[in-house]
Symmetry: C2
Subunit: 374 residues, 2 copies
């Protein structure tokens, strides 16, 4: 709840209260007391070997398949990862495929590289691979940006069949796919499909991050991709000049992994996120009026709503704020202002009782805006 009393479902963050300060203090204390101090020097562009070893072990355990430290490159988080891939795989004016809808800040990162964006729809099975094929043949894109798991903003995950089709297309046309998989680790592996690289590792550059499983302010993430892609990515001016992404932070996170602290905390956040998700979905089912289309997610951070035709989404937003509840309006998730009748709710930032209060407020406002039968 913000200072003004507004419950803002627009905030796409973990709750402040659960962020693991003590865990990181313990990790830092051990990391910075070790015998070496390599992490205070310029490091390898790819990230320290010992961090990549620890991270590979952690990912192998949780992904359920072997991850190689040679196929990992350390980043300052998924947004840096996306920007780095854009920098190395596109030139200004190149076409990049994005999803409709897609992560709105991702669009800002893409615009910063002066690429031309072409969108492909997302449905209840995720990215529409049939439409993707048409776009590939017409536009010859340099890159595909997709969020295959607990998609931001819709919450859907790419189906098994679509995953197969996507990697087949990527390989057939030799188009790298940036798979934003930052929500992959937020749910138990038996509740979701494996990461996209399991289907075919060759063209998939998987973006991962500690933001959702440790804390956003840690600003550390990774790209998992073939050694060929790693070689291309690490030959980046900023990484070369700076000696890799945040070696000192890397040493702290490595220690958190090696001491089992990351595993413990992962179990904690999964449990919290799952309870909040179920609570939010139940409240939406109970309180929302008929006619609102809800995409109920199996995990991640978000629920996507579509207001019935004839409802004025701007008026809903204004009245919702007046009633003390906020959300992200749908149009920001598109390159052309589409999805104006949609809205994104984040269910991870608030405890359950606040989620319910906020959803009751929202439901009331939406109900009052429903088009009357004439």
């Amino acid at each position: 709840v913000t200072d003004t009393g507004i419950i803002d479902f627009g905030i796409g963050q973990p709750e402040d209260r659960i962020l693991p300060r003590e865990l990181l203090r313990e990790a830092a204390q051990h990391a910075l007391a070790g015998p070496g101090n390599d992490y205070l020097q310029y490091g390898p562009e790819q990230g320290a070997r010992s961090l990549r070893d620890a991270l590979a072990g952690f990912l192998s355990r949780h992904y359920g398949h072997e991850v190689s430290p040679d196929e990992l490159l350390v980043t300052n988080g998924a947004s840096h990862g996306l920007d780095l891939v854009l920098s190395r795989y596109t030139r200004p004016g190149d076409v990049v495929v994005v999803e409709a809808p897609t992560y709105f800040f991702g669009l800002d990162v893409l615009h910063g590289r002066y690429v031309r964006l072409v969108s492909v729809p997302v449905d209840e099975e995720g990215l529409d691979t049939g439409a993707l094929r048409t776009v590939i043949e017409r536009e010859k894109p340099a890159l595909i940006y997709t969020i295959p798991v607990f998609h931001n903003p819709t919450g859907v995950s790419l189906s098994d069949a679509r995953r197969r089709q996507l990697v087949e297309l990527a390989e057939a046309y030799r188009i790298p796919v940036v798979a934003d998989e930052v929500y992959q680790l937020t749910a138990e592996p038996d509740r979701l499909l494996p990461p996209l690289r399991r289907y075919d590792p060759r063209q998939v550059l998987s973006l991962g991050s500690f933001s959702k499983i440790l804390g956003p302010g840690v600003r550390l993430g990774w790209i998992e991709c073939t050694t060929g892609h790693v070689a291309k990515l690490r030959d980046d001016g900023v990484l070369r000049s700076g000696g890799g992404a945040s070696p000192m932070t890397g040493a702290i996170v490595e220690t958190a992994i090696r001491r089992g602290l990351q595993d413990q905390f992962l179990a904690t956040v999964r449990d919290i996120y799952d309870r909040r998700r179920r609570c939010a979905c139940e409240a939406l089912r109970r309180y929302l009026p008929e006619g609102v289309r809800v995409t109920y997610p199996d995990g991640g951070y978000y629920v996507w709503l579509e207001l019935p035709a004839g409802t004025d989404p701007r008026a809903v937003r204004v009245d919702a704020l007046a009633a003390g509840v906020g959300f992200r309006p749908g149009h920001i998730f598109s390159i052309d202002g589409s999805f104006a009748s949609c809205l994104r709710l984040c269910f991870t930032y608030y405890p359950e009782e606040v989620l319910v209060t906020g959803i009751v407020r929202l439901a009331k406002v939406i109900t009052s805006h429903l088009p009357r039968c004439s």
Copy 2:
């Protein structure tokens, strides 16, 4: 000395041994034990206010003029700072002025933004502002990239008169100047001119970094510029999506500043760097043969040598490595392969006795390659 016994003056780094692990452990322990944990959340794009307050105080003390926290934006180091300015102030194809010679990794960062580079010579007073004026009028550059203090690779500092001319030109033509001032704090203030913004703050974006005064692996730096420039810079996709540059590292560095640890360590590194610089210069004066032109620096990291005409620089390099001494060849510091007869030596990475041994080796090789009188 590397594992192979080579003394590599090409390494442009602080010595591993002096990097302050204990200082950072102490800072981390206090930073991560405080009552709040904001630094684990997404932060403001500009960097946390409390960090900027502490940094402004630190810079005000050492620069000798008031630095405002509102005029600071936190980065992941100077290379990230340069890339960020390029991203926000240039479009692909725009002209950017660089110095000849200039920092070689800076060129990689510039190439990554698809700008067109035009160079202006550096002489013993720094950037040639007369030549700069001609280039500005002809090329209408979008940006000027300069290293006004302890220039990399030549070691020279921009003179007082040139500083005045540079900021006058920048203001007259409204061209932002990226001033890479990462070596400003490495020497006592009475030994060098004030930072470029003191001459005119309006068009100067000053890049600073903790790499030279704390440790490169910390990966934290700043840009000091007007609030107008800050507003433009912070509207960057990666900063917005990620919530600023490394908030957790920022909290640790803030604590290092607030507890006086950064001030203490600054005195230590200044003393070490100064003794090494004087030792290297003395050895070069004593052992180098006549005819080698040396630019003796007043601070920073580097000495720049020019071999006499008729000396084969490639042969010198090969024989130097065989004799156990390395350096950075001059041509990498240019956009067109100029400065082939020059070489850059770094004097901060080795203790004094190693500096002397290396310089003796190098002097012997150069002497053996001098053109004979015919």
